[in-house]
């Protein structure tokens, strides 16, 4: 066997193996399709994700499933497949707004609200605490033994609630 023929066989074998490895298996396609169908909405107007469209005979769902499957079979990534759906149906097909531009506010605001709330709660707690003068006065009272305090707390729980 000549060197060039051996090389050709090697290159061909490598290409075949590569293609076989790149082409996703049916199980992989099912898995990715399942993931995508939770990330996009069915465009039939049912206002649910593609996965949860209540009409399991829905023609729009069938068409969207077909687009996803074809893309995945062609070796497109999850991201590229979702982008294809966005190109066809617009951004409203996405079950969550992309974290960019104005849509970023959708993601940021709850976190900001949480932090502002925490800041306010801490501020209120600080403001609520007794002034130093009062603390000094109360400090004059004999200190309470921890065991006694625990017993009082336990007893108070029965009445104060």
């Amino acid at each position: 066997m000549s060197l060039s023929r051996t090389l050709k066989i090697l290159v061909l074998s490598f290409a075949l193996v590569n293609v076989a490895m790149a082409a996703p298996t049916s199980a992989q396609i099912d898995r990715i399709q399942n993931t995508i169908s939770t990330k996009v909405y069915c465009m039939c107007g049912c206002a649910t994700t593609l996965k949860d469209c209540p009409d399991l005979h829905c023609p729009v769902k069938a068409k969207m499933d077909q687009i996803i499957r074809t893309d995945l079979k062609q070796g497109k990534s999850e991201k590229a497949t979702i982008q294809d759906l966005v190109d066809i149906y617009g951004e409203k097909v996405l079950a969550a707004p992309p974290a960019s531009g104005f849509n970023l506010t959708a993601w940021i605001l709850p976190g900001v609200g949480l932090l502002i709330g925490l800041f306010l709660a801490i501020t209120i707690v600080r403001r609520w605490r007794r002034p130093a003068v009062q603390s000094a006065t109360s400090a004059a009272a004999p200190p309470m033994d921890d065991n006694v305090r625990a017993a009082v707390e336990e007893e108070m729980k029965k009445y104060v609630d």
């Binding site: 909405y41 399991l56 707004p97 531009g101 849509n103 625990a150």
Partner: protein, 674 residues
């Protein structure tokens, strides 16, 4: 009967306006005569609203399709048991239903307070009847259920009666649907009463603890109805929609969650005002917010501004609600602002490690949840208005944002009650937290060893163990103390402990129910599903289960055609019987619906849906879902309901106090007579 109903509705509107005005005058002039007149207006409102409801139901039951509402939502073939729910199946009927429920609530509020809260009641009547005026007016002017059908002819418009109606939406033809909407409505509508009491307290400057004590139960009742309605709604979605889930973060679902969260925050923070005289402005703000969110929820359902599987069709009612919401916000916030000087705290905080700060942080998380759900729900509208771009905010967004918030809340559910009022010593924290943390740690290790590595799922189950142990420990400690002091046996000690302080222990039971709901939700992480085409003799594997198609049959029932597939199920070789999922096609409304087959136990649900038939092969499209732990969601919901009912029962201490008050009042009365 159509005219009787129409007259009833107009009369209800007149009574509502009259009651709102006379109530305000009675409050301003402190006139008992005007108060009596306002009370009679409430009675008149209730009677006429009831008359309108009875009239509409009569038209529905007698298949009077000359009435446009009946023709739109009912049909001859509709089974009798589903005739009553037609009342709330559409915009017009449900507005009337809302008005009627409001009449019932106001009637009860007046009845139960006829000898109490004399200063507050005129304004309570005025505010609640003003709200009733809005709903009666909207029902009369925009969505009148007594409109009749007519058609154009040579001699102008002539009355028209179709031979049959369009029929009830098939997804509403389930027994849950005869309970779920009324419960939700009882929740939404009920928040009017605590709001009215709060406004009355502000207007009369009666801002002590009285309005809080009076309204606590008036808040708990709608909160209980709303919560139960939400769980039942999830149960309905699970059994009817055929996607194997119970919560999809749909805008209308969110709309019901918002006032529930607001009410939950109020029911917790109200305790700080009762015990310590703190958070007065906050409590007022929360009750205003809760009422606002209940009206906002109704607005979302009715206006059609957001697309949802549950929403009514787009209508002209949106602007009416927008104006009403603006009036509610402007009025309540103005009154609150004018009374700020009367709402100063009586006490200050003794320590950060206290029940007070626990409640404050609980409110922080609950309000963060309100903000996140609200923002996610309205964001598509905001985006459309600002960017002119339609976006969708669905489960991926809410799951990402709400799961961490939910877990924080779950932690506080366990930690908060273990803190004492005023100050908790380090010893006490150590004593109370040690056992729950040890148990949760052991559970966490076992879960990890069993292969549960998903952070949120693991964390959720870990915290469930922590909270459940802390609740059991609270009962155990309390019972042990009683056993020592009263020589009672353990079961009677637990019973007496609970009945002595129903509010506290009812609250613990509610928390326990919430824990079980979280367990059920965590189970979703292990959901498995598969689908296959099945003809007689075909097999389908789903984990340990094997399905064998026995036969496919078709036929017709009173108002639908069906195709059923009989599936023999075996698990690990053991026969489990036959499951029969069904595909229905409702004739009047021309809509299909999947009727699921379900095998359920505490560990998992076997959920089988017949999606339809394959047109080429004639085989059934069978969808199988294995849903672990779902039953705990429904059990948890029931326990929350039981806990709330228990908390509503007056405790022994409360009853003793009430007897003392009654005796004092009788003495004063006798003294006056003498």
């Amino acid at each position: 009967m159509n005219q009787v109903g129409a007259v009833g509705l107009i009369a209800a509107l007149v009574f509502a306006i009259y009651g709102a005005i006379t109530g305000a005058i009675a409050g301003k002039l402190r006139s008992p005569r005007m108060l009596k007149s306002a009370q009679r207006a409430v009675l008149g409102f209730f009677v006429t609203a009831t008359l309108a409801v009875i009239s509409l139901e009569y038209l529905i039951y007698t298949n009077d399709f000359h009435n446009a509402y009946v023709a739109e939502h009912s049909s001859l073939a509709l089974p009798l048991r589903y005739k009553f729910p037609v009342l709330w199946a559409g915009q017009e009927g449900s507005l009337l239903f809302w008005t009627w429920l409001l009449a019932i609530y106001i009637g009860f509020a007046v009845l139960l307070n006829r000898r109490k809260n004399r200063q507050l009641m005129p304004y309570v009547i005025s505010i609640s009847m003003a709200v009733a005026t809005f709903f009666a007016l909207a029902d009369f002017a925009v969505a009148n259920p007594f409109n009749t059908l007519s058609m154009a002819s040579a001699s102008g418009m002539t009355p028209f009666t179709p031979a049959d109606g369009n029929g009830l939406n098939p997804s509403l033809q389930f027994h849950q649907m005869t309970i779920h909407p009324p419960l939700l409505y009882l929740g939404y509508v009920g928040f009017t009463i605590p709001f009215a009491f709060a406004m009355a307290a502000l207007l009369t400057r009666q801002l002590g603890d009285n309005w809080i004590r009076v309204t606590r139960r008036w808040t708990m009742v709608p909160w209980m109805f709303l919560g139960t309605g939400i769980v039942l709604g999830g149960n309905w979605a699970y059994h009817v929609l055929g996607w194997g889930g119970y919560w999809a973060w749909d805008p209308v679902e969110n709309a019901s969650l918002l006032p529930w969260l607001g009410g939950t925050a109020f029911l917790h923070s109200v305790m700080i005002q009762e015990k310590r005289g703190m958070l007065k402005v906050w409590n007022m703000s929360l009750i205003i917010l809760t009422f606002f969110l209940s009206i906002f929820g109704d607005f979302l359902v009715r206006s059609g501004i957001i697309s949802s599987v549950h929403a009514f069709a787009q209508s002209d009612i949106g602007p009416w609600f927008t104006v009403f919401l603006a009036i509610v916000a402007a009025f309540s916030l103005t009154v609150l602002f004018l009374r700020l000087d009367f709402l100063k705290s009586d006490n200050r905080l003794d320590s950060i490690a206290s029940r007070e700060s626990g409640f404050l942080f609980n409110n922080w998380i609950l309000l963060a949840a309100v903000l996140a759900v609200f923002w996610g729900t309205v964001f598509p509208v905001v985006s459309k208005a600002i960017e002119n771009e339609t976006v969708t905010v669905g489960p991926p967004f809410f799951n990402k944002v709400m799961i961490p918030i939910g877990l924080l809340l779950l932690f506080l559910t366990g930690a908060g009650p273990m803190l004492a009022w005023r100050k908790t010593s380090f010893q006490s924290i150590k004593r109370n937290f040690t056992i729950p943390l040890i148990v949760a740690g052991i559970v966490g290790i076992i879960l990890f060893a069993e292969g549960i590595h998903g952070l949120y799922t693991w964390m959720s189950l870990f915290l469930c163990a922590f909270v459940a142990t802390s609740i059991v420990a609270e009962f155990y400690k309390g019972a042990r103390t009683r056993m020592k002091t009263s020589k009672e046996k353990f079961p009677s000690a637990v019973y007496n402990l609970t009945m002595r302080n129903t509010r506290r222990y009812g609250g613990y039971i509610v928390h326990f129910g919430i824990v079980l709901i979280f367990v059920g939700i965590a189970g979703q992480a292990f959901r498995f599903e598969t689908q296959g085409l099945m003809g007689p003799g075909d097999l389908l594997h789903a984990k340990d289960y094997l399905f064998r198609c026995e036969k496919i049959t078709s036929g017709q029932k009173e108002n639908y055609q069906y195709v059923t597939v009989d599936l023999a199920v075996t698990k690990d070789g053991h026969a489990m019987g036959v499951m029969r999922p069904q595909k229905r096609f409702y004739i009047a409304s021309r809509q299909p619906l999947s009727h699921i087959a379900l095998r359920t136990n505490l560990a998992r649900d076997l959920y089988v849906v017949m999606a339809g038939t394959d047109q080429d092969s004639g085989k059934a499209i069978v969808h199988v879902i294995i849903n672990p732990l779902v039953q705990w969601v429904w059990i948890g919901g029931m326990i929350v309901l039981l806990g709330t009912i228990l908390a509503l029962i007056p405790s022994r201490i409360e009853r003793q106090m009430a007897d003392i008050h009654k005796h004092q009042e009788a003495t004063v009365e006798a003294h006056h007579v003498t």
